[in-house]
């Protein structure tokens, strides 16, 4: 595969092509974009194009250089990524780091939230980059999940960013670039990958044997993220969707016992609640669309019957406001349980709570 074979992302591909064609490649490139938009693959293909001397502007994908980049065996390519902390042990060896990157590139899970890029690995990378390249005209440092750099590590990287050694290209990949140090951010040229088109997600899922309503659901719920679409196709959100449906229906019918069940099942996990609210939002959007005769565009294509019956009892526009407010409160670090409780109260009270400031309603929830 080379950059030209990647689906979508025409704008960033054109930018990369103009860099590669003119030979004026920035010394630091930040590849960013939402989860599941193909950043890993894009970054690796970009690196391949930088190192390959055969193909123009992109990599030829056949020469030994390209093959070595694919297997991460290229002597002028140095990578790093966050690894889970190892209690009481020294940092992972270069081989362990390399194995982790290989697995990550092959579609491995995003590193857990307590994983950081080790300062030691960044220093090693810096040392490697201070030597001249071995095989290719340039040498590349490739950092995945760069926002997970420890500030001390990021500062040590600043040296390279400020006074880059000759022939060095540093590629940073980040989902949340705003979490990078501003000093790092300001020295990188950004390539932002947009959401993938529905067609390319559909094609990819079809290749993996997903069909029918499930395919349509996955494409729509994925909303431009192939990773999310694959998770939907694999049924990872089915349980959550069941909870959302119960929650919305029970809220409208004012059945408090169901609320307690849901609170039990969601527990106090912030990430779970975020997904829960996201899916709530999608359901309410569907209800809104149905109410306005736009039934074709709904996301939950396989739950049309539920949507139709729910649209009679739920005031979607009002409930959507409540969901938005809950998501905002959650993002402001409120306790997940309290956010859910507050949301429930406002849903079943028929909307008066939406006029209250969040602090007051949270305080009310606490008293209860």
């Amino acid at each position: 595969m080379s950059l030209s074979d990647l689906a979508d992302q025409d704008r960033v591909k054109a930018v990369a092509a103009s860099w590669l064609e003119s030979g004026r490649i920035p010394h630091a490139i930040l590849v960013c974009g939402a989860e599941g938009t193909g950043k890993r693959r894009f970054a690796l293909e970009l690196v391949k194009a930088v190192l390959c001397i055969e193909g123009s502007p992109f990599s030829c994908d056949q020469c030994p250089t390209c093959r070595k980049v694919d297997s991460l065996q290229h002597p002028d390519l140095h990578t790093a990524m966050p690894l889970p902390p190892r209690r009481g042990k020294r940092e992972a060896s270069p081989e362990a780091l390399r194995d982790a990157v290989v697995e990550f590139l092959a579609g491995g899970a995003t590193p857990p939230s307590n994983a950081n890029i080790a300062v030691e690995h960044l220093r090693q990378l810096q040392k490697e980059l201070s030597y001249s390249p071995t095989e290719s005209p340039r040498k590349v440092g490739l950092l995945f999940a760069a926002e997970r750099m420890h500030p001390a590590g990021a500062n040590s990287l600043l040296k390279i960013l400020e006074e880059p050694p000759a022939r060095v290209v540093l590629v940073l990949v980040a989902t949340a670039p705003e979490r990078l140090l501003p000093t790092v951010l300001s020295r990188c040229q950004r390539l932002t990958l947009g959401p993938l088109s529905a067609d390319s997600i559909r094609r990819q899922l079809e290749l993996e044997g997903v069909v029918g309503e499930r395919l349509e659901l996955a494409v729509r719920m994925g909303a431009g993220s192939l990773q999310r679409a694959k998770e939907v196709a694999a049924g990872q959100f089915d349980e959550m969707r069941r909870l959302v449906e119960e929650f919305l229906a029970a809220g409208a019918a004012q059945q408090d016992e169901i609320y307690w069940n849901i609170l039990d099942e969601l527990g106090g996990d912030r990430g779970e609640l975020e997904v829960f609210l996201l899916i709530c939002g999608q359901y309410l959007r569907d209800l809104f669309l149905l109410a306005h005769g736009q039934g074709e565009a709904v996301v939950q294509v396989d739950r049309r019957a539920y949507l139709e019956s729910a649209s009679e009892t739920i005031d979607a526009a009002r409930a959507a406001l409540e969901i938005d407010r809950a998501a905002e409160t959650l993002a402001n670090n409120a306790s997940p349980q309290l956010v859910l409780t507050d949301l429930w109260r406002s849903l079943r009270r028929g909307g008066q709570a939406s006029t209250m400031p969040p602090e007051a309603s949270l305080a009310g929830a606490r008293r209860k």
């Binding site: 810096q126 040392k127 201070s130 030597y131 000759a166």
Partner: protein, 387 residues
């Protein structure tokens, strides 16, 4: 690939390249040795990415080919193999070694090792573009190179924060060569004026920063054999060719620090001491120097130098007076004993000349007698005098 090779030849070849095999390989293939059979030679290569060594051994090749196999394992098998012919054959990515082990017809050994495709191995160019010269003919002996390296490479920085200081600057132009190394506290500079007009064109000049590992390896390879050495300074790599052996090293990306501006120009005060007096005295006195600063103080008087040190940790003091030629004002300077001892050892002369200005500026140390065309000096920063 199919060939027969003499065990001794093969062992010598493997032994030569084995130094380049890293103990902790960054890529799995680097733990391997590359074997290439072509023409009438079997070439062996190993690399740790910074440094590559390649050599050739004569062999009877039946079928050419290339493969990589685990270096240490192949080395052990070859080392233990008796002095006899060895047949090597590659089948399906496996290397098969076989041959007779003794006089008797029935004694036979067969070993097989799984290998990795040779394409995975980093490329090692056999020639480089750049400034080239050959040492070892009448003008300059290759031992000159060893001497230059020994006298400068010790001063490189061990601190990774400034990569350029981790290497030795090497300049070549038509008038000669120069090597410089510094870590910020001391500097060693060796200039050699030799006529290289035949080899280096008029205005051509090249300056590169070579990692010290490559230099110590070249000293090791040159130590075994006199012979000519051909050097090519490329843009990103440097190549040394000694007969069948080739050593290729990556360079450190420059530019090097502007060291010229720290070399003092008007150090008027001169101190001369016999090295056979100074070196042992510094070594003895430094035993009682502070383990943190390693400071040895020099009190210069006319006609003599008083060396002293005090160690608060041990609670000891040392003092020695040695004769010296000094006619200027009285002065007291402190130096790091470790640095001074290293420099004195490299000086290789009967008498050392210190060129000084005052107790806070750098001292220049030179051997009193130098060979023609040779200009060697070290710069040493003083320590702040402490009580």
């Amino acid at each position: 690939m199919k060939l027969t090779v003499d065990r001794n030849e093969l062992w010598q070849g493997i032994d030569t390249v084995l130094d380049a095999v890293p103990s902790k390989p960054a890529l799995p293939v680097l733990a391997n040795i590359l074997l290439e059979a072509d023409g009438e030679t079997l070439s062996l290569a190993a690399t740790d990415l910074d440094l590559s060594i390649r050599t050739e051994v004569p062999a009877a090749i039946e079928k050419k080919g290339r493969i990589t196999v685990p270096a240490r394992t192949l080395a052990e098998i070859t080392r233990e193999w008796p002095d006899a012919e060895l047949s090597i054959e590659v089948q399906d990515d496996r290397l098969k070694l076989s041959g007779r082990l003794g006089e008797a017809d029935s004694s036979e050994g067969a070993y097989s090792l799984s290998g990795m495709a040779a394409d995975e191995f980093p490329n090692m160019p056999t020639s480089l573009e750049g400034v080239g010269l050959t040492l070892g003919d009448d003008e300059a002996d290759s031992s000159v190179l060893v001497d230059m390296i020994n006298k400068t490479a010790f001063a490189v920085s061990r601190d990774d924060t400034r990569p350029v200081l981790n290497g030795v600057l090497w300049r070549i132009d038509s008038q000669g060569m120069q090597m410089v190394a510094t870590d910020g506290s001391r500097l060693a500079c060796y200039k050699l004026a030799i006529d290289l007009k035949d080899q280096v064109k008029g205005d051509e000049e090249s300056s590169v920063i070579v990692p010290p590992q490559a230099l110590s390896q070249i000293v090791k390879l040159l130590g075994g054999q006199g012979g000519p050495v051909k050097i090519t300074l490329g843009e990103t790599q440097v190549l040394f060719e000694m007969g069948r052996k080739k050593l290729l090293s990556r360079l450190i990306e420059g530019p090097y620090v502007d060291y010229g501006q720290v070399i003092p120009q008007n150090n008027k005060k001169e101190l001369r001491i016999a090295s056979e007096d100074l070196l042992p005295a510094v070594r003895r006195v430094s035993i009682l120097s502070s383990s943190y600063t390693r400071q040895v103080r020099f009190k210069l008087n006319s006609g003599q130098v008083e060396l002293s040190a005090a160690s608060p940790e041990i609670g000891g003091e040392a003092r020695e007076v040695i004769p010296a030629q000094y006619t200027e004002d009285e002065m007291e300077i402190g130096y790091n004993a470790q640095y001074l001892i290293e420099i004195l050892r490299k000086m290789d002369t009967n008498e050392i000349r210190f060129e000084l200005e005052n107790h806070v500026t750098a001292a220049l140390l030179r051997p009193t007698e130098q060979k023609e065309g040779e200009d060697y000096f070290c710069l040493l920063m003083p320590l702040r005098p402490t009580g």
